[in-house]
């Protein structure tokens, strides 16, 4: 349908993840730090897949 859904998901997690990660680092909260890091990795993965899918037109 013209948009690979992994693109917006990846982009959103690439914004939310570092935001939570930095908050965790500043406030010394391990829960925020770990969750933010995991979200950033997931976001980067989805974004990469989304860009590839968008080029090939295979992502929905």
């Amino acid at each position: 349908m013209g948009l690979d859904i992994r693109l917006p998901i990846g982009l959103m997690f690439c914004i939310l993840g570092p935001t939570i990660l930095i908050t965790g680092l500043i406030r010394g909260e391990p829960l925020s730090r770990n969750t933010g890091a995991a979200m950033t990795v997931f976001g980067a993965f989805m974004l990469t897949m989304g860009i590839r899918g968008q080029r090939r037109g295979t992502g929905g």
Partner: protein, 542 residues
């Protein structure tokens, strides 16, 4: 309820705003692709199975599911997992392997339309009208539950939550139709997982791990096991026993919902081909099997930790288990993520109901009864209008429930009356070529009547059950059995349709497509793997 009030930091607000921007942005990007009614209402039947699979699950993750199941985890413990491992997975396997070839292969655009193709117009009409009405009411219940949580947690006025959530859902469903709803459901799925998984981990960790929870709750029977206490209704907190559980929940209610409710079936029908449609419930089954660890176990950990729920009229409000845990364990930043996850669950439930409503209204009511010769342009326009009116009626339903809160129970009850017998209609329709239109219609009407009668007898004290849940399970069995028997009897007394008209609609008259893929890629193999995993979970938590 002051004990649940939280104050948000700037970073929490930023997270919620970013979530809203992406949700509406997806609808905005997709709006230019909405050129026909098929694009808007059926997603052009073009989506890959991993997307429809996650949407199949996510459309079911409404307010009542996520918050309700966490609350049930607090109230009933691991017994609640029956709603997943008995009350969902077997039905999802069945619809994937046996029913999807008929839904997808018949080219029906909706579940009521399949009934029209298999039986007749009146059976479609009964199903379409009841589904359309109940769907927007359920959407209103989602909206009401959401507004209530945000009123309690953030102090937002009720109408601000209702109007804001309705405006966002309306924006992305009106702009991008079913595709936008499905895409957002996938996004919301990941947000729900990342929003609640840390809560599950931290709450279980604080309670001393699984063994710590077991030790703390050793005195309460049935809280940490799922089968060992269901031999008798008096031995478990749910007040249920094995026959009612397996037949009522595991067969009638579960198959009635997962195999016939257009809200979820619509996601599978949006898949690009039949194999993708069959994979849809199978893919959904994997996270579904693991969801108890995300929503039920945290509820159980809350009991083990001795967290006290807020009370209303002297009774604990179990639905506030999840908000209580969020407040207890989430620091700034994480709180914004948790709230965005809650919003995601409410909005995916609402949007799912609205997109199912607009399709049934447009194809099964407007085109079937009001304007039979409607052009595609008229259908697209009507689909968009139905989206708008669907959201408005949902808002009205939310206010109705706010003013008469017992209505919420009645609406759910009403939903049960219609959902339980319909599976008998489909079962006979798909697997018995002798079933007739008159049989289906009279059977369905009798099943609904039997369900209502059972409820009246129960409330008048004529029939007694150990708990309301046991009554709901047995009510469903009565309703389903009545529909099944009456459909058979009336069908035998009426003239069946010629067999050649039923090809592609009935199992015994339809040639099965030859399997061209390797055995390990077939739906049956995937289903077998899921079943083995779920059996393993049942044994571990026996």
């Amino acid at each position: 309820m002051e004990s649940l009030r939280v104050s948000l930091a700037a970073v929490d607000w930023a997270i919620v705003v970013i979530y809203f921007v992406f949700v509406i942005g997806i609808g905005f990007v997709l709006r230019k692709y909405m050129k026909s009614s098929e694009d808007f209402l059926e997603s052009g039947r073009s989506l890959p199975s991993w997307i429809t699979g996650l949407a199949f699950l996510s459309a079911n993750l409404g307010a009542l599911e996520v918050m309700g199941m966490a609350g049930n985890g607090y109230k009933y413990g691991m017994l609640t997992a029956h709603f997943y491992w008995v009350g969902a997975i077997p039905a999802m396997m069945f619809v994937a392997i046996f029913m999807m070839p008929f839904y997808y292969g018949s080219h029906a655009r909706s579940v009521p339309e399949y009934l029209k193709l298999r039986f007749d117009e009146k059976t479609r009409g009964l199903n379409a009208i009841s589904f359309a009405v109940l769907t927007v009411l359920m959407s209103g219940i989602n909206m009401y539950a959401m507004a209530l949580v945000f009123e309690v947690m953030l102090g937002w006025p009720f109408h601000v939550s209702v109007i804001a959530s309705a405006a966002v859902v309306l924006a992305y469903t009106y702009l991008g139709g079913l595709t936008s709803s499905i895409y957002n459901e996938v996004l919301q799925f990941f947000l729900i997982v990342f929003g609640f998984a840390p809560l599950a981990i931290v709450s279980v960790h604080k309670a001393g791990g699984w063994h710590g929870i077991q030790e703390r709750l050793a005195e309460v029977p049935g809280m940490t096991s799922i089968w060992s206490s269901v031999g008798s209704a008096s031995h478990n907190p749910m007040g249920i026993e094995i026959a009612g559980l397996v037949m009522g929940l595991g067969f009638v209610l579960s198959f009635g919902y997962w195999c016939t409710d257009f809200l979820v079936i619509q996601r599978a029908l949006a898949a690009k081909d039949l194999p993708a449609a069959q994979r849809t419930p199978l893919i959904a089954a994997v996270p579904k099997a693991l969801f108890p660890f995300l929503v039920i176990v945290p509820g159980l950990a809350a009991v083990a930790l001795g967290l006290a729920l807020p009370e209303k009229n002297g009774a604990p409000v179990y639905d506030y288990t999840l908000p209580l845990l969020l407040k207890q364990f989430y620091p700034a930043g994480m709180l914004g993520l948790g709230l965005a996850a809650l919003l995601a669950s409410f909005m995916s439930g609402m949007a799912g109901n609205v997109t199912a409503f607009n399709t049934v209204w447009t194809y099964d009511i407007y085109q079937a009864y009001l304007k039979k010769d409607a052009s595609d342009k008229a259908l697209l326009r009507m689909g968009k209008m139905a989206t708008f009116w669907g959201v408005l009626i949902s808002i009205a339903a939310a206010y109705l429930v706010k003013n008469f809160d017992s209505l919420m129970d009645y609406m759910q009850l009403l939903f049960g009356f219609f959902n339980a017998p319909i599976f008998a209609t489909f079962l006979l329709g798909m697997f018995w070529k002798r079933a007739t239109g008159h049989g289906a219609f009279i059977g369905l009407a009798s099943g609904i009547t039997a369900g209502v009668t059972h409820h009246v007898l129960k409330t008048q004290g004529v029939i007694h059950y150990s708990s309301d849940m046991a009554a709901a399970f047995y009510g469903a069995i009565v309703s389903w059995s009545t529909c099944f028997l009456v459909t058979i009897l009336v069908s035998l007394a009426t003239r069946p349709r010629p067999e050649k008209e039923l090809v592609g609609l009935v199992y015994s008259l339809t040639e099965r497509p030859k399997q061209t893929v390797a055995w390990y890629l077939r739906p049956t193999t995937a289903a077998a793997v899921v079943v083995v995993v779920v059996v393993g979970l049942n044994i571990y938590f026996f």
